[in-house]
């Protein structure tokens, strides 16, 4: 009995430590099912969430600060150190740039309340999603360029990792045209390969 108890608790602590807590999302979506069972790469992937014609963007943690620095430079908006910290800890977001400061000042619970975020503008007149994706890709690339110069990775690895992967997480009921617009935005910046996040479908479909 004692041995069994020991093993059980050893395994329990292992699973508790390896488990990653589910991050709260500003927009929960119901993804369509598919039989393809490829897993999404664990790191180096930014996610664009689409639901109710609203778009949310999740940047990998390592590239978050770099992305906001680049956006701040390009758009001429300055952020305080506290706001950078808040942005780094924020999982996904979906607000126009002029509301970002007020979003960062709120607590995570308020931020992720339904309806608190209205989505990133992505229409042709005010296309902020393009800027975010572009800056996130540049920030991601800059990290690996730094590592390449320091000799931590070789050129082959750099080629594999330097381009930020993009995953589209769309709601099953979303209009095709909304998703098509996102695909067009990605293609405009020569991002022709990406992932569609799907759910599991049983085999006899």
């Amino acid at each position: 009995m004692t041995a069994m108890c020991d093993v059980a608790f050893l395994l329990l602590s292992f699973f508790v430590m390896t488990a990653t807590a589910k991050q709260p999302e500003p927009k929960p979506v119901d993804t369509p099912a598919s039989t393809v069972i490829d897993k999404l790469p664990e790191d180096g992937v930014a996610t664009i969430t689409v639901g109710d014609k609203q778009v949310f963007f999740t940047i990998p943690r390592a590239s978050r600060r770099g992305t906001l620095e680049r956006i701040s430079q390009e758009k001429g908006v300055s952020f305080t150190e506290g706001e950078y910290k808040a942005f780094e800890n924020m999982e996904g977001f979906g607000v126009p740039l002029n509301q970002l400061k007020s979003l960062l000042s709120k607590s995570p619970a308020v931020r992720n309340a339904p309806g608190a975020q209205v989505g990133i503008p992505y229409d042709t007149i005010n296309d902020q999603l393009t800027d975010w994706v572009k800056q996130a890709r540049e920030a991601h690339k800059a990290i690996y360029e730094g590592q390449l110069q320091e000799g931590k990775i070789n050129a082959e690895e750099f080629g594999k990792k330097a381009d930020l992967g993009i995953a589209i997480k769309g709601d099953a009921k979303e209009d095709f045209m909304t998703v098509k617009r996102i695909i067009d935005i990605l293609q405009e910046q020569k991002k022709n390969r990406f992932f569609l996040i799907t759910g599991l479908r049983n085999k006899d479909f």
Binding site: M1, F9, F15, D38, K39, L40, A172, K173, L196
Partner: protein, 182 residues
């Protein structure tokens, strides 16, 4: 196993002598709980990894397309997605189709049979063993994102090697409207 014996009780004036006992605690409930939690964490960690479907789109700015390049009409299938989860497909060019536009549903008994049939048809019309069906997927404004994923899933199920997502033309929208699918 496992009971905590406390000595004494039946002393009766004699010298109180503590009985030699086996100090053990009942672990059954604790182990039960531990295994329950293990099961929970095991299942949640493996199931929470999101699944994904890789999608490669053709480069938009490619300008080296040869206008004289012959389209293999016998191997080209176009799938149009209309409203209410309905599909219209045809083989060849729209003006001179090899197979007339046909309506189909999603699923095992609908579009999948047609794709398999057309794959066989395409194989008959080519000498090369590695050449098969080419599918052009065109979704209309009335289609939903689920429709797109479903049709991409059919491509994966039927192992169609060449497929692309294209823009729908006004003629094809007219065709869908005529059939009452737009």
């Amino acid at each position: 196993m496992a009971e905590l014996n406390t000595g004494g009780g039946g002393g009766d004036g004699k010298k109180v002598r503590s009985k030699k006992s086996n100090p053990g605690v009942d672990l059954t409930a604790m182990v039960d709980l531990a295994f329950l939690l293990i099961t929970f964490f095991m299942l949640t960690t493996t199931l929470s990894k999101p699944q994904s479907m890789p999608l490669a789109m053709p480069d938009k700015e490619k300008t080296d397309t040869d206008p004289d390049m012959k389209v293999p009409e016998d191997r080209m299938m176009t799938i149009l997605i209309g409203k209410d989860n309905k599909i219209l497909w045809y083989m060849g060019m729209l003006a001179t189709p090899r197979m007339e536009p046909t309506e189909a549903k999603f699923g095992k008994d609908g579009i999948r049979k047609d794709i398999l049939k057309n794959t066989a048809y395409a194989k008959q019309h080519t000498e090369k063993a590695d050449e098969g069906l080419i599918v052009n997927i065109k979704a209309s404004d009335a289609a939903s994102y689920k429709n797109l994923v479903d049709i991409l899933d059919e491509m994966a199920i039927n192992k169609v090697q060449l497929y692309a997502i294209g823009d729908i033309t006004p003629e094809e929208i007219t065709l869908l409207t005529d059939k009452g699918l737009y």
